[in-house]
């Protein structure tokens, strides 16, 4: 019985990986705007946004459009289509928004919503990321099958702690994201894209670090990560609904 469960779990996980490697969907031929890989762009609006004093109330107004996909709570979807962004480091949120805006990170669905014409300039970025960073996190994020956690734990300790921290808490000042509490399927997709170079704004040290990870390694370590718990102070109650958008 256990063998069947493992097989099915492995199959569903592998199907995630294979589909991700195929570019998530067999669609029209992608013509990437650029092959340029940039971890930290120069002269970016990012630096400007970071210096501005954020307005939390304005951030809440701006967030309404983001809530359509990231949900009012900022928890995204447990199937990983949209990541949880609640409780992410503000520096990371600003960087990713700006990277999508500047074309350093490809995200067709999100691209219009990162545009100044839709959400505003540097101040808007400063405002909305303040709001998002302060949202409580989801206590029930999507996790992996739980079949290879010992292996995942060891891989994490040997490869990931250095940047993402013991608990996957990341490092705000270095723009290393908080990965604890993130949806497993989203982690898998981003990790694969970082590994393959499809996520062009990836940190080159990470690309190097995970170069030799097998698919089994990938799924194991990310399953482990998906189960790392943030500080309880950062986490909301189960089934919490954001009163700002009721």
């Amino acid at each position: 019985m256990m063998k069947t469960v493992h097989w099915l779990a492995a199959a569903s996980a592998m199907s995630v990986l294979v589909a991700v490697s195929a570019g998530q969907a067999a669609g029209p031929v992608q013509v990437p705007q650029s092959d340029k890989k940039v971890w930290m762009s120069e002269g970016s609006e990012r630096d400007e946004a970071l210096k501005l004093t954020p307005n939390y109330e304005k951030g809440k107004e701006i967030y309404e459009v983001c809530s359509a996909c990231h949900m009012p709570e900022g928890w995204g979807l447990t199937d990983g289509t949209f990541p949880e962004i609640a409780g992410q480091h503000r520096t990371v949120l600003i960087k990713q928004l700006e990277d999508i805006r500047e074309g350093n990170r490809d995200n067709p669905t999100m691209y219009p919503f990162a545009l100044p014409s839709e959400i505003g300039g540097a101040q808007a970025v400063a405002d909305v990321t303040e709001y998002i960073a302060r949202l409580p996190m989801n206590p029930e994020n999507g996790v992996g099958p739980g079949t290879d956690l010992e292996h995942g734990k060891k891989l994490y300790a040997d490869n990931c702690v250095r940047c993402h921290g013991e608990q996957g808490e990341g490092a705000a000042e270095k723009y290393y994201p908080r990965i604890q509490g993130q949806h497993y399927n989203y982690l898998v997709r981003q990790y694969q894209w970082i590994k393959e170079g499809k996520r062009r704004n990836a940190n080159p040290d990470m690309v190097e670090q995970i170069k030799f990870f097998t698919d089994k390694d990938t799924l194991a370590v990310l399953d482990y990560v998906s189960r790392l718990k943030p500080d309880p102070k950062l986490v909301g109650p189960k089934g919490w609904k954001n009163p700002d958008f009721q």
Partner: protein, 234 residues
């Protein structure tokens, strides 16, 4: 590769459907809560359900409240024929409906294609049915000057567009889109992309001989004309 993983990879390659994997619900940590026993109630009115889905499945983000305030060059979709709307959803999802690229180099339909796995067949139908009940919005944006509008109308009439799309683009044949009052930029893009063989889904291929009679300049005139047609008044 061990035997179980080889088997898993084979299973995976057979299972792959675009976007399906992303929809896989990874098993969550056990949260043993029985489903609440609600008192039996009438199913929600179909229209309420369609609206709820429209709001909850991200459609509202791009097409705007009531499908009437679309952002960027995305179309307003309020008041579309239900069968046509459903077909567009299915064909964008399947990749049968293609488009040119935006300024960033992404196919314009990609942003929608990438989330359609979130919407089941029944849900798509409910959304399409709801959309068809809505009053289309008043024409948006500044109307083009009267001379352009007049030239556009002449072209529309002379080119027999009304045969499928109806006079003034207001009352199309069954399962065709109403083009009157649609956003100018969107109309122009669709005519050009159908003309140039980029978009070929559904009945659009039958439109090619008509569209091929129009230069870019003429397409823009037709778009100027159609964009100011008011379908909101019944």
């Amino acid at each position: 590769m061990t035997a179980p993983f080889r088997a898993a990879l084979l299973a995976a390659s057979l299972m792959i459907v675009p976007g399906m994997a992303a929809a896989q619900q990874a098993p969550a940590a056990p949260a043993a809560q029985p489903a609440p026993q609600a008192a039996p109630q009438a199913a929600p009115a179909p229209q309420a359900e369609g609206r709820k889905l429209f709001m909850g499945k991200t459609c509202v983000a791009c097409h705007g409240r009531d499908g009437s305030k679309a952002i960027q060059m995305y179309p307003n979709i309020a008041g579309l024929d239900a069968a046509y709307a459903l077909r567009q959803m299915d064909e964008i999802a399947s990749g049968e409906r293609l488009s040119g690229n935006d300024a960033r180099g992404y196919p314009r339909t990609q942003s929608m294609k990438d989330i359609m796995h979130l919407v089941s067949a029944e849900e798509r139908k409910a959304i399409a049915d709801w959309l068809s009940t809505l009053t289309p919005p008043k024409p948006a944006g500044q109307p083009a000057d009267a001379e352009r509008v007049a030239k556009g109308k002449d072209l529309y009439d002379a080119n027999e567009c009304a045969a499928c799309h109806g006079p003034d683009g207001k009352e199309p044949q069954a399962e065709m889109p109403a083009v009157g009052g649609q956003k100018r930029e969107y109309i122009a893009l669709q005519i050009k992309e159908i003309r140039d063989g980029i978009r070929k889904n559904g009945m659009s291929e039958s439109m090619v001989p008509f569209a091929q009679k129009l230069s870019d300049e003429q397409v823009d005139l037709v778009a100027d004309y159609l964009a100011q047609v008011d379908r909101s008044a019944k």
